[in-house]
Symmetry: C2
Subunit: 112 residues, 2 copies
DNA sequence: GTTGAAGTATGATCGGCGTCGAAGTATCGG
DNA sequence: CCGATACTTCGACGCCGATCATACTTCAAC
């Protein structure tokens, strides 16, 4: 049976432009406690973090789902480094799309 | 058969103190498009508005539900004036609990 | 190559939330 | 007292999203 190898699939995920951000997507993203925790941990981190470096009470596949929601909303940028997928906040793009929102959210999350 | 009139029930709803606001409740409240529209209309209004003065694509009982969610989150204050229930934003209390958040949300909602 | 580590894809489940309609309550105007 | 108006309450229903387990892919190290 011949090898049915498909072409190596594109591993670079799609990121929306700031003009395409919608408030609905942003809020849908941050309303979930797990995703909000990801945003806060990223905001506090000095450098990008891999998906596995977050300690969160969910399984890996669920985590993949959360990161996709955050990326498609425009909150984070993802890129591969080896087998690891790195994540960082898109602060400037968020600031451009919805000024003050990300700051207010992270600050609010830090209280209580 | 004697009148079975019960005592007139308390029509003044409960409002949480700013210290009791939670970000989760606020986000749960504003993530819904109908409720976010209410907040925006209230923010743009010069004076309190009655529940019925919002034009929204939902039934009356659904509207009641939305106003309760907003009130219990701390976003609005409600009081009766005759048969009408008036609503106003709790701007100062929101600012105290989560500085900048309400402004950022309303501004963001106004864009697009 | 093989093996292991890191994520991704898929399908199923399950609970919560937004919605409605119908019936109930409160207040105001005759 | 009699509507009429303005909301509320109560069930029921339907859908969407968070979660998981399993199987798969990709890359790195040896």
């Amino acid at each position: 049976m011949p090898a049915v190898r498909t072409e190596p699939q594109d591993r670079s995920p799609e990121h929306p432009a700031p003009e395409a951000f919608t408030l609905q997507q942003i809020l849908d993203a941050v309303v979930d406690p797990v995703r909000r925790s990801i945003v806060c941990q990223l905001s506090a981190a000095p450098s990008p973090k891999s998906c596995g470096s977050f300690d969160l009470p969910v399984g890996r596949s669920t985590l993949t789902h959360h990161f996709r929601v955050l990326r498609e909303a425009g909150l984070i940028r993802q890129y591969y480094a080896g087998t690891s997928r790195m994540n960082e906040l898109r602060r400037e793009d968020m600031e451009e799309a919805f000024p003050g929102l990300l700051d207010a959210l992270v600050t609010a999350a830090a209280r209580r």
